[in-house]
Symmetry: D2
Subunit: 435 residues, 4 copies
C-alpha cells in the first residue's frame, strides 16, 4: 500500500522545521507553522494557546527571552494571528479528527530543539544549494523532533485519507528536552478521553528499517536548581564576616552523590552545572547547583528528590546561608502496555521499508511522554512508546545528528497503520475493564 501523503511534502515540512529550531516555551515559529499547515486539512478541531496546557508550566524563560524568540518567529514569517495566541510562551497544539464511533486514539509528538550549534561541514543539512541548516545559530534539531512533528502531520493526512472509524488526537508537545511540556499537556482536558496513546521517537541507535514496538526503561527524573545566597566579605581582612555559599555548595555536592542507594532499583543523581563566587579574594556570596535525580520508578525518583532537597537545605544551614530550590522539569517513569506493543509489532511487518521489528528496548534515559502515557493508563487506557529506526550519522544530541528522510515515510505509515488497527479492533477491551 502506498502512502496518501507525498514524500516530498514530508521532506519539505521537516526541513522547514529543521531550519527553525526553538527552545522550550519558545516554539513560536514551529507551532504557527504546524497550525497553519493543519488549517488546510479537514481536521475537526485545532487547539493551541493556553487551552492545550492544563497546568502551570515549569521553567518558563524570562520575558526578554520569550520576546526575542517571538520576534524571531515573526521575522521568519510565522503568521501573526496565530502567534498572538501563543504570547507568553503558550506553545504546542492539538489536532482532532472525528470519524464515527470508534475509540479515541492519541498520538504524541514533540517539537522543541536543543542548544547545540549545528555542524557546518560533512553534514547533509549544511550541504548544497538547498541546504536547510539551522537559521537560529546555537540551536539545532539534534534529536529529530523536526521528524516527529512531521510524523504528526503526515499521520493526520493518512487517517483523513483512510476508512478510519474513531477519533484521532495528535498532541504536538512543546518542551520535551527540558522535560517541562509533558506535564501541562497531560493535564489538559484534551487527553481525558484518550483510550490508546502512541508516542514515537526516531533513531535511538536503530537503523532505517528497524522498528521497536515498545520502548521501555524510562527513568523517572527531576531537574532542580538550587540557588545559595550568603554574604560576601574580604577573604583576607574579615573571613568571619562572610557567609560562604561555596562552602555550602561543596557540602551539598558531596552529600548529594552520597544519598543512599535503594534496594528497590536504580537511582541516579548529578550536580551537572555548578558555580559560585566572583574573585579569589572575596568570600563567595552567591552559588548555584543545577542538577537532577532519577529513579527506575517514580517512587525511587521521589525518594532521591526528597533526600536531595534535604541535603541542599541542610548544607545551606550548615554555612548559615539561604537557599531556594526550584523544580526545573520532571518526568515520571512509564511502561509500554504489551497489548498495544503487540499490535504495533503486528502491523509493523506490513509497513513498506520495515525489515526488522524488535519487541522492546531499554531507553536508559528519560522522556516526558511518560506523563501522557501514565495519564491514559490511569484512566484505564493503553499506551506504547514506539521507536522508528533511522540512520543517523552523528549521535543524538551532537552537532552532526541527522535523520534519514526515508524514515519519515516509514514512521507515518507505521503510526497511521497502528492507529487504524486500534480503531478496527481495539485491543484489551475485555481485560482492562475488570481492573
Amino acid at each position: 500500500m502506498s502512502l496518501a501523503v507525498e514524500h516530498d511534502d514530508l521532506v519539505a515540512l521537516r526541513r522547514d522545521l529543521h531550519r527553525h529550531p526553538e527552545p522550550a516555551w519558545c516554539e513560536f515559529y514551529t507551532t504557527a507553522r504546524l497550525v497553519s499547515e493543519l488549517e488546510t486539512r479537514d481536521v475537526d478541531e485545532l487547539h493551541y494557546g493556553p487551552a492545550v496546557l492544563g497546568s502551570e508550566r515549569m521553567n518558563v524563560p524570562d520575558e526578554g527571552t520569550l520576546d526575542e524568540w517571538f520576534e524571531r518567529a515573526k521575522a521568519a514569517g510565522a503568521r501573526e494571528d496565530i502567534l498572538a495566541e501563543l504570547e507568553g510562551g503558550y506553545t504546542g497544539a492539538v489536532a482532532v479528527v472525528r470519524r464515527g464511533d470508534g475509540p479515541v486514539v492519541g498520538l504524541r509528538v514533540d517539537i522543541d530543539a536543543l542548544p547545540i550549534t549545528e555542524a557546518n561541514e560533512n553534514h547533509a543539512p549544511a550541504d548544497g544549494a538547498d541546504a536547510y541548516r539551522s537559521e537560529n545559530e546555537g540551536w539545532m534539531h539534534a534529536c529529530g523532533h523536526d521528524a516527529h512533528a512531521t510524523f504528526g502531520v503526515g499521520v493526520i493526512d493518512e487517517i483523513l485519507a483512510s476508512e478510519f472509524e474513531g477519533t484521532l488526537k495528535v498532541f504536538f508537545q512543546p518542551g520535551e528536552e527540558q522535560i517541562v511540556g509533558g506535564k501541562p499537556m497531560a493535564d489538559s482536558e484534551l487527553l481525558d478521553d484518550v483510550e490508546y496513546l502512541l508516542a514515537a521517537h526516531v533513531g535511538l541507535d536503530h537503523p532505517t528499517g528497524e522498528v521497536v514496538a515498545g520502548v521501555d526503561g524510562f527513568l523517572a527524573v527531576s531537574h532542580f536548581l538550587a540557588e545559595f545566597d550568603g554574604e560576601s566579605a574580604h577573604a583576607g581582612g574579615h573571613p568571619e564576616e562572610g557567609r560562604n555559599t561555596v562552602q555550602a555548595m561543596a557540602a551539598a555536592i558531596q552529600n548529594l552523590y552520597a544519598i543512599p542507594r535503594h534496594a528497590d532499583g536504580a537511582t541516579r543523581v548529578n550536580a551537572g552545572l555548578v558555580g559560585g563566587g566572583t574573585a579569589t579574594n572575596i568570600i563567595p556570596e552567591e552559588s548555584f547547583v543545577e542538577g537532577e535525580v532519577r529513579g527506575e520508578t517514580t517512587d525511587l525518583m521521589e525518594y532521591m528528590d526528597d533526600k536531595a532537597e534535604n541535603v541542599l537545605v541542610s548544607a545551606a544551614e550548615m554555612h548559615d546561608v539561604d537557599v531556594t530550590t526550584e523544580r526545573l522539569g520532571m518526568a515520571p517513569s512509564a511502561t509500554s502496555d504489551p497489548e498495544l506493543v503487540d499490535l504495533v509489532a503486528a502491523v509493523a511487518g506490513d509497513v513498506a521499508g520495515v525489515d526488522s521489528v524488535a519487541e522492546s528496548d531499554e531507553l536508559g534515559g528519560s522522556e516526558d511522554a511518560t506523563y501522557l502515557m501514565r495519564r491514559v493508563q490511569d484512566n484505564g487506557g493503553y499506551a506504547a512508546y514506539v521507536g522508528v529506526g533511522t540512520d543517523h550519522p552523528g549521535g543524538h544530541h551532537t552537532s552532526t545528528f541527522d535523520v534519514d528522510e526515508a524514515s519519515l515515510d516509514v514512521g507515518v505509515d507505521l503510526l497511521a497503520s497502528a492507529i487504524r488497527a486500534v480503531a478496527a479492533d481495539p485491543p484489551g477491551q475485555s481485560d482492562r475493564t475488570d481492573a
Copy 2:
C-alpha cells in the same frame, strides 16, 4: 630566710598524693587527705563538699565510676567522715586563714590527675624501696598537680608562721584536666571577696630555679560531645531504610575543621575522638564526636562554639538523624595583671633557689584557673598565673613526667612571699578603682 615548713614534710605529702592520682570529680582520697592534713593546722575555716562548688558541675562521671573511686579512696585509708561529705563527687576544698585587716588574697591550686599509666622503669617514683608510683593503675599525676596541692598546704604553713595581716584563701580545685572544676569553684561565694589571686603551675618546660612571674596566652576552650542517633539497616538488603550516623559524622567533621578563620585572632578546632557503627554490613545507628574549639579570646572561642554547634546540628539534619550536643568542659581566656606580675617578679629575686626570673611566657594551651582569675578581675581585683620551674625528665602528660622535689620549697617560698608582699603593700589600689 629559711622556710617554716620542713622539706621532708612537703615531700611526704606530695608522694602520698602521687600514689593516689584521681580523675575529675573523683578526687576523694586527695580531698580527704588534704582536709585531714589541714584540720591539724590553725586555719579559720575549712570548706569542702557541695559548699565549695557554686554552680552545676559538667561531665560528672556515672554513678558506677563515682562509687568505684569512692570505695578505692576508702580502701586507701581516706577518713570516712570526710568522704561522706564528698559523696556524689563533690570534691575539692577551700581553706581560709584570717589574720587582721589586710586584703583578701587567694591561691588556687589544682588536685586532679590524668588517665596515663605511670612508667615502671627509669622513673624516680617507681624506683627503690620507698617507691611511690601510682597505686591507681592507669592513672597518674603526670602534670604535677600533686606538687600544686602540696604548695597549697605549704603556703598555709608559711603564712601561719608569718606576720601576715590579711586573709588568705587557698582553693584546692578539682577537675582542671577536663576543665570542669574551674567554673563551679569560681561560682562559689568563697571567691567573692578575693582581691588578689595567684595561681601556680610547676614545670612548663622551665628548669628548677626559674620562675615565670606572669604566664599568659591562655586559649579559651570548650569541649563538646555530640552523639548522633539514627537507624540501623542491612547495608546490602535495605540501605535506604537506614539513617546513617557515620555519614552525618563525616559531614560534621569535614565542616568543623572548615569553620572560617577569624580576623580578630587565633582559633582552633579538633574532632579528637570519634567513632560510630557496629559492623561492616550494618548501616551505623550510633556515632559520636568528642571535640573542642578554642579561641585567643573568649569571644573567639564562642564564635567557634556557635559555628560548631550549627555544623553538628545541620550535619545531623542532612542525614536525617538526631544529634544531642553536650558541653563537657570549658575555660575562658585570661591575662595576668601587670601590677601583680611585677610584684611576683620583684619578690622572686629574694627566694632561695631562684636563679632566673622571666617576666612572662605564653602557655599556648588552656587552663580553667582562668575562671577564677576573671572572676576576681571582674570584681575589680588582680590575678596572676605564676610558673615555678622544675626539672622534669618526661614532658607534661607523659608517663615519665616527674618533678624535682627541690622545687616544692621554691614554690612554697615564692607564693608565700608574694602573698605577704601583697598584704604588706597591696598593688594597684589607686589605679583600678577609677576603672
Copy 3:
C-alpha cells in the same frame, strides 16, 4: 521412605554444636566434634587441618584469640589429637565417600557462629532441664549453621545406607559469617573433581515444610579494613604539627558513599564501623574504617572495590597520612544452575514433610558458598543453593533465632535424595560439554 538416621541423633548433634558456637578460624570444638563423629562412619577419606584450605586465609584472629578458643575447645572435651591438627586456626573438614563410578557430587555446609549473646528467656534452647543454650557467652548459632553441619553428617549417613553409585564429598566450611572460609576451601584440590555441588541454608523466612530449589540474588561482597596512621599533636598548641587521620577518615567516608552508581546493576557501600583519635585536645594519630562494597555481579563489586581503594588512598594523601587497606573477607556473586534446580524441585515433592516447593527466591544478601559454586561451574559442573524452610521464632542474626528441629530430617532427606538423583541420572551432561 523413612530415614536411615535417627531423628534423636540429629537433634543430639545439633544441640551439642549449638552449645559450642565459635567464630571464624576458631571452630576448634565444632571441627573436632564433627571429625570424631565421622570417624565412626565408614567414610573413605576424612580431611582436616591445612589440607582443606587451598589458599591463604583472610582475617585470621591474633594468636591470643586463637589460643583462647583452642583452650576452650579442649576444656569442653574436644579430642586433643584432632585439635593438634587444627592449631593456628586451620578449621573445617571434608569427608569423602566413594561408591563406584558415578559422578562426584559435593555438599557444602558451613559451621561457624555469630557474636550475639543468646537470649535467656522465651527461647527454646534456654528452657528446661535439657537446655542447650550457648556455653560460649557472647557467641551464638543465630543463623542455623549448627543445623547445616548436622545436615552434613546426616546426609553421609543416608548415602552410606543407600544404593548410591558415585562419589560424595561433604565440605564443612569454616568462616562463612565473615566470608573468609569460602575462598580457601574453594581453592582446595578437594573441590577440583566435583561435578555437582549443592549448598544449603535453613530458614531464610521460609517455614518448616517449604523448600526453595534454587536460591539466587547473591550480591558479591568485599569487606575491607582501612587503617590510617598520622601524627598526633597538641590541638591547641600546635595543630599544624599533626597529621590528622580523622580528617582523612571523614573525607574518605564522604567520598565512599559518593562512588558513582553503575548502569549495569545494583551496587552498595557502607562504612559500617569507624573510629579515631584519643582525646579532645589531641590531633588524632590513628583512625580506621571497616566497611564493605557489594555488587549485583562480581564485576560490579570489583568496580566498587577499586573505587573504594582509590578513595581511601587519596583521602590519606589529602591529609598527609598513611593508610593501609586489608581485605577482611570476600565473596563473588553466583547463580544456581536451572538443570540442578529442576532436579531438586523434582525430588523435593517426594520428601516427607515438604508441603511447598518454590522454584527460586532472592537472597538479597551475600554468602561465600558462591566461591565453591563458581569453581564447580567454572570447571564445567553445576551448582545450586537450596533453601530448607524452618519455623524460626526470631529473625536470622537475632538473639532469639532458633530452628524447628523437624526440619533437620527434612533437610537431610531432601539433600540425600537430590544427591542420589544426581548420581542416578546426572543432569545436563549433553548440554554443558559443548560450552
Copy 4:
C-alpha cells in the same frame, strides 16, 4: 616651602591617567604616557619594556586581550615608538636620576587599575564639562594608582629641582591588583643597588592631611587556579563512565577550608570563584577553582600553599580526574623598617598640609610592593610603606572611589622630602652592617 611642581600639572596628569585605566600587563597607554612625560625631564636613565622585568611574568592575558588593549592605547594617542617596546605586555617603567655620591634611594608606585565600572553620578570624575571618568568602560582607577603614578613623576620633578645628592630610582610597577608585577620588577637588576626604598599608597581610610609613616600587617598571599579535567558521560545512562570533576572540586573545596590552623600566626584560604559542568544530565567533564591562601608571614602562606596544592591534587586523584594548578599571583609579607619609618615621621611634620602623623597602621590585606621591600632588605637596605591620607568618598575598590587632589601635593612633598632627608643623613648605617 612650596613645591617646584605645579598643582595643576599634577592634576592634569592624574586625570589623564584616570581616564585610561588598564589591567595588569595591559598598562600600555599608562606606561607610554609616563615615559613620554619623563622624556621631557632631565632624567639620566629611562627604562621600559622587558628590561624592567627581571623574571617570568605570571598570569599574562591571552594574545587577543593584549592586542585589544594595545590597539586601544594606540587609538587613545599613545606614542607608537614607545608602545612598540611594550609589545607582549611588557609594561612598567623605571626612571633614574643620578646626582653625586649619596645613597641610592628607590620609590615604588603602582600603575594598574581594576575591573570596576566607574560611577556616573554623584561622583566628581563624572561631573561637569571637564569630566575625566574612565574611557575604558568596565575598568576604573578605583584604588588611586593614578595618584601613585603622579606621585612618581612629581617626586622626580622635586628632586631635580633640589640639592639632592645621591641616586633616585622611581619604579612604576604594573600589575599590583593581581599581585603579578611586584616579583618580576623586584627581580630586575635595577633594584640591586637600592639602599632605601619607599612605597606609597593614598587613602586607606585616612583623611587628607594624615600620614602613616610605616604601614605594616601585610599578609603574604598566593592566588591559584586549579583546572580539573575528567570525562563526561550521560548521567542517567552511564554515570560510571564519567570521571566527575564536580565531585573532585567539591572534595577539594571542603578540604581546602579545613587546612589546619597554624600556631605561628594567622592564615587564610578562600575558594573565591568556582564552576563546573555544562548541563544537569551530563557528568561534568571540566571544573575549576580560583582561590587564594594567605599567611601572616611568607612561611605561613607557603605552609597554606603547600597544603592547598596537596588537597587539589589528592581530590583529583580521588575522583580519577586530572588537575593542573597554576599560580596566578603572589606576594610575600614584609615589614617597614623602624629606622626609615622614624625618618618619614620626622619629615612629615614639616610637610605643608599634613596635620596628623601616625607611626604605624595595619593594612590587613596584601600588596606586592613587599617583593621590592624584601629584596632591598635582603640586600642590607631599608624599606618603608607610607600612607598618604586622602578624603575618599567611596571605599577602595568601589565605583565611587576618588581621591582628594590636594593630597597629590602632600604626597609629592612628603616623599620628596623623605628622599632628600635619607640622602642628607642616611639612617641606620652603623647598625645594619653588623647583622
